[in-house]
Amino acid sequence: MLMGKQKSPDYEDYEWFLKQDLSSYQNKWFAILHKKVIDSGDDVGALMLRVKKQHPKEEPFITRVRTELSIL
């Protein structure tokens, strides 16, 4: 389990995410911090652990963007 007190996530990182073409990370999970993709991978659990270890005081966003058209 992840522990520790962090800063609030940065809304500007969300706004940065909206504007970027992130298709090179197709179907991978990735982490965004300070307007950069700081890490990515297929395994979201491993990604979260790496990110938290490298940035224990920060709150990077984790997300994933499908590059196929999808329906339910």
Binding site: L2, V44, I62, T63, V65, L72
Partner: protein, 156 residues
């Protein structure tokens, strides 16, 4: 406390043969600890789905009732009923809306199989437990997703 209104924009994504737009919004999930995500807001999804690897790491209760979730053409994925606290982030911190005890389904990774829902879908925010708290408007031509908090008396 006055009702809050959150306004987000659509995410434009390149896909095969063009682009599509998706309502992806910033949230923080909290169990015994918390983590921020950018998740798909999906009016076609009955419930919020969280991959089990995420649920474990943020410390959600994994001992709830077992169920199954189905996509359009799949044969079903095992899931566990749980709850979490969900924070819908506002541009200004004071606008952030916190929902407690939001019902969620934790999608369980199938042993030895890499093609299941937990590796192949983004986190999805569905109707149950979220749409009771917000009136949600999608304005694609204005590039706006508007979440207007519902007053207590209006909730059903």
């Amino acid at each position: 406390m006055p009702a809050k209104t959150l306004i987000y924009s659509f995410k434009h994504t390149r896909v095969q043969n063009g682009t599509c737009v998706r309502p992806m919004i910033p949230i923080t999930l909290r169990g015994t600890t918390s983590f921020p995500f950018i998740a798909l807001l999906d009016t076609g999804c009955d419930a919020t789905v969280i991959p089990d690897k995420i649920a474990q790491l943020i410390g959600l209760n994994m001992k709830g009732r077992k169920t199954k979730i189905f996509g359009q053409w799949d044969t079903g994925t095992d899931a566990i009923e749980s709850t979490c606290t969900m924070m819908f982030l506002g541009k200004l911190h004071k606008n952030t809306v916190i929902l407690k005890d939001v019902p969620v389904l934790i999608a369980v990774t199938k042993e030895g199989y890499d093609g299941d829902i937990t590796n192949n879908c983004e986190m999805v925010l569905g109707i149950k437990g979220i749409f009771d708290h917000f009136d949600i408007t999608f304005e694609k031509t204005e590039d706006k997703i508007i979440l207007k908090q519902v007053s207590q008396s209006k909730k059903r």
